[in-house]
Amino acid sequence: MSDICPDSGAIPCEEALERMYEFLDGELSNDSAEEVRVHLERCKKCYPYFNFERVFLDHVRSLRLPPETTERLEARIRKALDDT
């Protein structure tokens, strides 16, 4: 994926790859994200790679933070509050 694809838009593959996580995290400016988007529309090499990374990130993010119940902790905290 390090080759420069012909006709792949304003930025070469290296540049698109460099911005990959920032792009997927929504951290790029509109212009910079647009350059990546144009590149992905045209680059047959980068698109599947970005897609794979997006699936990976979506899966990790879908975890979020499930609440965890602990009755012991609740008793402990109520006691600590009583003592304050």
Binding site: V60, L65, T70, R78, L81
Partner: protein, 184 residues
């Protein structure tokens, strides 16, 4: 009701109801350390109780408590670090697994076959410097700027830590999936 009892009652209704969510965050920040997580939740809630008069009712109490817990954790983490850790550069671990799976599962369907428990175990097992940015970014949804402020590291460092952390996590999940036959 006395003023103290009133305050306690209000704290119970507004703040204590978020205890499970706080414990969930504490467990992921500490990498699954139950004892440390309980201490962290207790310390954070006591801090919140002491500062209760500063909390404005009607604002987001859960977010306020999560911030207190996050800051408490990072402060402890930072003071326990005698010197800055440097996580070793590892060429294989830092590479995407895409090249390895592109012929069998280019769309990463194997990720869907992993259950939450397996992913959580893999996140918990990451070294602190890698786990914390992942928890803050991917599980809590914070921006690079917010993580940079909380961890007191430059945005560029957040970016590179996240990059390497995700590659390591991805590789762990991939190795696990291979072991379990999810890729066959």
């Amino acid at each position: 009701m006395t003023e103290d009892a009133d305050k306690r009652q209000q704290f119970e209704t507004e703040a204590l109801v978020h205890m499970d969510a706080l414990y969930g965050l504490a467990l992921r920040l500490t990498g699954g350390d139950a004892a440390r997580s309980e201490d962290l939740v207790q310390d954070s809630l006591l801090k919140a109780f002491r500062a209760w008069d500063d909390f404005r009712l009607g604002t987001n109490c859960r977010a306020w408590l999560m911030t207190i817990l996050r800051n408490t954790f990072i402060n402890e983490f930072r003071s326990a670090q005698r010197r800055p850790t440097s996580v070793e550069y590892d060429e294989v671990a830092d590479r995407s697994v895409f090249a390895e799976v592109s012929s069998v599962d280019p769309e990463g369907n194997f990720f869907e076959r992993l259950i939450d428990k397996e992913v959580i175990a893999a996140v918990d097992a990451l070294p602190d410097d890698f786990r914390i940015p992942i928890v803050l970014s991917d599980l809590e949804g914070l921006s690079y700027q917010e993580i940079s402020e909380i961890m007191e590291i430059p945005v560029g460092t957040v970016k590179s830590r996240l990059f390497r952390a995700r590659k390591r996590l991805q590789r762990k999940l991939y190795e696990y999936a291979v072991e379990m036959g999810y890729l066959s």
